[in-house]
Structures are given as structure tokens and as C-alpha cells.
Symmetry: C2
Subunit: 203 residues, 2 copies
């Protein structure tokens, strides 16, 4: 019996942690990291500050958990597209899929927009995370475009190094305009249009 | 004599206001609006909090002054390019000139990146400012591209409505990557490359 209770407590602990991460994701997305308080996150979850600190020892630790969770979700989508797609096209398709999904989750888009902006300050706790993330994204796009080139799907006159920075930059910039004017900006259509221009095959 | 003193006091007041705006620009650029405190801005200017409040009654008022000042500077650069350039190309050239100038002023770039991100929250004091600003930017790009089209400088296969969102988005997204990795991202080269692709004439 005791084991079941412990098991139940453990499962409850995980569920509670997931709840906290979900609430913190929405909250960081609204106000960023700096303005966020552990008191408010605890209140959003209906628990005490001490209860919150039992699961996450600091705001920095909670932010890291939020970013890790999002990274896992993004990576799963990304892998699925790569496996289903011709060489190189999976990464490009996941840009469009990501944009489509973003258009249903403004809180998450806000999270990345605000945190990545704040994190340009070298003192921000997520500075190294975002610097490494963009490195990874640029490398991933470069590899994908090289594969597409080898498969003959990439136009000859495009510059892969430039596109490795350009495509993620376009996605990021569209998010700001979309959050400010959701009915006027179609992020997925703009991304799809730009990606189609660099290809010799349908995306 | 009294008049001179008053005159001197008035000029001093303006100079002091400009000093405060400059300090606040750098400071908002580092930490955003939310985390910024009037106490710290006063300290950066070497004046008391009361002295600061004499010039700017609130943090919101100071933020408005910072944005207005930047808008005037940007507009002057923009006008100069329009006057010197063939129809439509001025706006496009001012994107490249803006990127080049940005690469020498990371504090200002940080200001826009952080404030525009924070301002996607509808409660932020600069929300309406940024929503209106992007409207204006998209209209300006649309007009410029229509002029370029009429002058035969624009490729036939481009979509002006899409580019009106795409070009400012690209500029914004590059700023985040550049702030995180200044030696790896050449904002001006990426912008110039993209703009050249949509033209039938040299930019």
C-alpha cells in the first residue's frame, strides 16, 4: 500500500510540476522574465510560494524548465517533418508548420518574443540559452539547405549562409508584427511564400 | 539680466532633458521598460529622483519622450534617402542604411528589440505606439514598392503586400540574432541581398 501512495504522490508531483510549467509559460509570455514574480506564478497555480519553491528553487530554475519543455515539443514536431519529407525539405516545412501552430498559441509566441529580446542582454539568465539556440537553428537550416541543394531542390542563385540567418529572422520578426496585429499578418503564408522562392520544387 | 538668466535656465533645462532621454534610451535598451526604475535613471544622470520627476512626471512619460526622439532621428535619415534616390528606392536604401547604423549602436537596437517585444502585451504603455508604428512602416514599404514598380525597378513576380510585412520582419529578426552574436551576423549584407533580389536595377 505504501508503495502505491508513494507512486501516487510521485505522479501527483509530476502533474503539479507540469501545471506550474504551463502557468509559468503563459505568464512569462505576458510579462517576460524580469517583471515576473514567483508569488504571482504561485497564485496562478493556486499554491503557496513555499509550495512553488518546493518544485522550483528559483525563478531562473523555473525559466530553464519552461525553455526545456518547449524545446522538447518543438523538436518532436521538427523530427516528424524531417522523417516525412524529401531531403532538406523537412526543416523548411517545419518553419511553415511552426508558423501555423504559432497562430493558435499567442501566449507561446509572446514567450519567445519577449524572452529572446530580454536575453540579448548578456546578464540575462537565458542569454547563453538563446545564443546557443540561434547557433543551432542556423546550423540546422544550413544543413537542410545543403541537402536540398544536393537533391537538386534548391535554386542555384541562393546563398545558403545568408538564408541560414534570414529564414529564422523572418519568422521572429513576423511574430512581433502578428502579436501586434493578428488579423493582418499571415505568418505561415509569408514563410511559405519566401521558402517557395528559393526552391525548384513545390515545398 | 534676469531674462538672460531665465534664458540660460531654459537652455539648461533642454540640455538636461536631452541628457535624461539619452541615459533612459541606453537604460531601457538594456533592461526594457518593466524592469527600469526612475531611481536608476536619475542615478545614471547624476540627479535626484525629484529632479528627474521635475522633467518627466512618470516612467511612461519618459518612455514616450525616448520613442519620439528616436522617431525624429529615424525620420530625418529616411527623408534624406528618399530625396537622394530614384522613385521607391529611398525607403529600401534606408533599410540598409539603418542596418549599417544599427551595427554601431547596439544600445539603440536593444531598445527597439526589447520594447517592441514587451509592447506586444496589450497592457504595455507602448503597445499602441508600436502597433501604429508597424502599420506606418508597412504602408511606407507598400508605397515605395508601388513607386518602384511603376518606375520598372521592381521584379514582376514579387508580391508587394507580402513584402510590406516581410522586409521589416527580416530587419527585426536580424537584430535579435545580431545582438546575440554580433560578429556572426551582417545585418546590412542580409538586407541588401534580399532587397537586390526583388529589384531589376542595382539598389
Amino acid at each position: 500500500m505504501e508503495r502505491e501512495v508513494i507512486g501516487g504522490g510521485y505522479a501527483k508531483g509530476i502533474a503539479r510540476k507540469e501545471e506550474i510549467i504551463e502557468a509559468a509559460t503563459a505568464y512569462f509570455g505576458r510579462v517576460g522574465f524580469h517583471k515576473a514574480t514567483m508569488i504571482q506564478i504561485a497564485a496562478d497555480c493556486g499554491i503557496s510560494r513555499a509550495g512553488l519553491l518546493h518544485h522550483f528553487g528559483s525563478k531562473e530554475e523555473l525559466l530553464a524548465a519552461v525553455l526545456e519543455t518547449r524545446e522538447r515539443v518543438d523538436y518532436a514536431r521538427f523530427r516528424a517533418h524531417i522523417e516525412m519529407s524529401p531531403p532538406g525539405l523537412g526543416v523548411l516545412r517545419s518553419f511553415v508548420a511552426g508558423a501555423l501552430e504559432s497562430m493558435t498559441t499567442p501566449g507561446l509566441v509572446g514567450l519567445y518574443v519577449v524572452l529572446s529580446a530580454e536575453a540579448t542582454d548578456s546578464e540575462h539568465p537565458a542569454h547563453d540559452y538563446f545564443a546557443a539556440r540561434y547557433e543551432r537553428v542556423r546550423s540546422g537550416v544550413t544543413m537542410a539547405l545543403e541537402q536540398a541543394k544536393e537533391a537538386g531542390s534548391l535554386r542555384d542563385d541562393v546563398n545558403i549562409d545568408v538564408l541560414a540567418a534570414e529564414l529564422p529572422a523572418l519568422m521572429d520578426g513576423l511574430q512581433v508584427q502578428w502579436l501586434l496585429a493578428p488579423h493582418k499578418i499571415d505568418m505561415a503564408a509569408v514563410m511559405r511564400g519566401r521558402l517557395q522562392q528559393i526552391l525548384t520544387v513545390p515545398l
